[in-house]
């Protein structure tokens, strides 16, 4: 579960944390879009290299590394399976590129989720004219990620005590061993969702249509710069790719 850490807000005093969530949303979406435009190792590595300084600015590199370590099993799995099953010309090269793309995509969104407090996110959504109920649901979902992770650990403990051996056996067995974890997790979550809904209703959630807010977000100069710069890079890359294509050195890949 440690890979979830990278999508979890952490309180830090950094330039990135201070940005308006909307400008960070633009940054995240454009950098994800850019990652999706390429399928070669070199350009994807360059994208990743551009993202790492942002993580540095957000003081979250160590957290990111830890999550990547937690995810390494899945990443290796993707490489192995794609190499074995893919029908493209150079399967290994292709699956390495796919994996880097996945990391770049995750990093794009992790920069957003690491630095945006759930309350800020819902406020940003409300100011983007999304209905309060939806914005609230979104921030609640984010709020419950750590609770869910905690719950998952308790469930694993309970099943281990009944003799389930989670880290033994072949891949198929391990996947089957997840059932005793996932089913209680879903049920506990549904039960909790119902009781949260009841307690919200008993505190008159949704009574007033025009609610006011304590804090309002304001776009500042640095936010305009970030948003403008992200969109400019995206547009430039689209222009460049459609008129010139990638230079030869960027097309490099493994020959197998």
């Amino acid at each position: 579960m440690s890979f979830l850490e990278v999508f979890q807000y952490t309180k830090q005093d950094s330039v990135i944390h201070q940005l308006d969530p909307r400008s960070k949303m633009v940054l995240a979406i454009t950098s994800a879009a850019i990652s999706l435009m390429f399928l070669n190792i070199v350009p994807l590595l360059i994208i990743l290299l551009c993202q790492i300084p942002i993580l540095f600015l957000a003081k979250s590199v160590r957290r990111w590394l830890r999550s990547m370590k937690g995810l390494s099993f899945l990443l290796i799995f993707i490489i192995v399976f794609n190499t074995l099953l893919s029908t493209v010309a150079n399967p290994f090269s292709y699956s390495v590129a796919l994996t880097i793309r996945l990391i770049a995509l995750m990093t794009s969104f992790s920069i957003f989720f690491l630095t945006v407090h759930p309350d800020e996110l819902s406020q940003a959504m409300i100011q983007m004219r999304i209905r309060f109920e939806f914005a609230f649901a979104m921030s609640m979902a984010m709020r419950y990620v750590p609770t869910l992770a905690h719950e998952a650990y308790s469930i694993m403990d309970a099943q281990k005590a009944r003799g389930v051996e989670l880290d033994k056996g072949n891949l198929l067995k391990r996947i089957r061993n997840m059932i005793p974890i996932i089913v209680p997790l879903i049920i506990v979550s549904i039960r909790r969702a119902l009781s949260v809904a009841e307690s919200m209703e008993s505190r008159a959630f949704g009574v007033s249509q025009n609610r006011t807010y304590l804090k309002r977000l304001e776009f500042q100069r640095r936010d305009w710069i970030v948003a403008f710069f992200s969109i400019a890079v995206l547009l430039y890359l689209i222009y460049f790719l459609s008129f010139f294509g990638l230079p030869d050195w960027m097309l490099w890949g493994f020959s197998f």
Binding site: R162, G163, V164, E165, P180, V183, P184, R191
Partner: protein, 274 residues
């Protein structure tokens, strides 16, 4: 049976749960662990079946260090019933749920089924065998979780807050069941806040506070000790409170009274016998 030597455990972060706990529990004992919220009670029982490993110190099970034993291996000897049944129930019938644990521990399908039926009838759950655990009430689910552990007939049975959500009758049934198991040689360890339950059924009590054991001994002397009651944020048993009220008028009343029969004896004596 279980020997714990000076174990320390710290949860990730700053929160320390155990700060040097030693305890020895012999075969056939009945022990209650009481204490404040966050005293480390649950952490301690989780060390007994290997779910948590001491960061310092040792846990011995039948003189064997559990360091190199897997949880599944320990689970054959130490059965742990968790506070929340919802963390373990996942199958679509009570029967399957009970059989699941037995099969994990290596019992044949036939034997597992037999044990399952015996356990269900012992817990008054016969009628529920084919019901889905998710359609049962909280208290019933708790009993299903208990059944799934009882069926494995562990040498040591540890229960975390078994009386929560159970009505008086079920509590009594539970106590009878535990006594029965105990008479058959099973060691019973219970973590609880239910002081009346402790007084009636557990001869030995361990009081915890702030990750330490602050008292360990006979239930009646421990629970009539104000310092320990205070340290572990408990309320004294009703009988002890009644006795201390009596003592204001009759100084000869002992301050060591916890059981109903002792209190009865004193009252009978005070009114001049029957």
């Amino acid at each position: 049976m279980i020997k714990i030597e000076d174990i320390h455990f710290k949860y990730e972060g700053v929160y320390t749960a155990l700060r040097g706990v030693s305890i020895q529990i012999d075969q056939g004992e009945r022990v209650a662990i009481v204490g404040t919220n966050g005293a480390g009670k649950t952490t301690l029982v989780k060390h007994m079946n290997g779910l948590l490993r001491p960061q310092r110190g040792h846990v011995f099970l039948k003189d064997r260090d559990t360091k190199h034993m897997s949880v599944a291996e320990i689970a054959r000897t130490v059965g742990l019933v968790f506070q929340s049944p919802d963390h373990q129930l996942f199958l679509d019938s009570v029967e399957k749920e009970v059989v699941f644990g037995l099969r994990n521990l290596g019992y044949s399908a036939k034997e597992a089924e037999e044990r399952c039926h015996n356990t269900l009838s012992r817990l008054g759950l016969e009628g529920f065998a084919d019901r889905s655990p998710f359609t049962l009430s909280g208290g019933e689910r708790k009993r299903v979780a208990l059944a799934s552990v009882l069926a494995t007939e562990p040498k040591v049975l540890a229960l975390d807050e078994p009386t929560i959500g159970q009505d008086a009758k079920q509590k009594k049934l539970l106590a009878e069941l535990l006594s029965e198991m105990n008479d058959a040689g099973c060691t019973v360890v219970v973590v609880t806040h239910d002081i009346e339950f402790v007084v009636e059924f557990f001869p030995r009590t361990v009081a915890m506070s702030g990750g330490l054991i602050v008292g360990d001994g006979k239930t009646e002397s421990l629970l009539s000790n104000e310092a320990i009651i205070d340290l572990s944020s408990l309320s004294a048993p009703q009988t002890t409170l009644a006795a201390s009220a009596l003592r204001k008028k009759f100084p000869e009343v002992s301050n060591r009274i916890t059981s109903v029969s002792d209190l009865e004896e004193i009252i009978v004596r005070l009114v001049g016998g029957l």
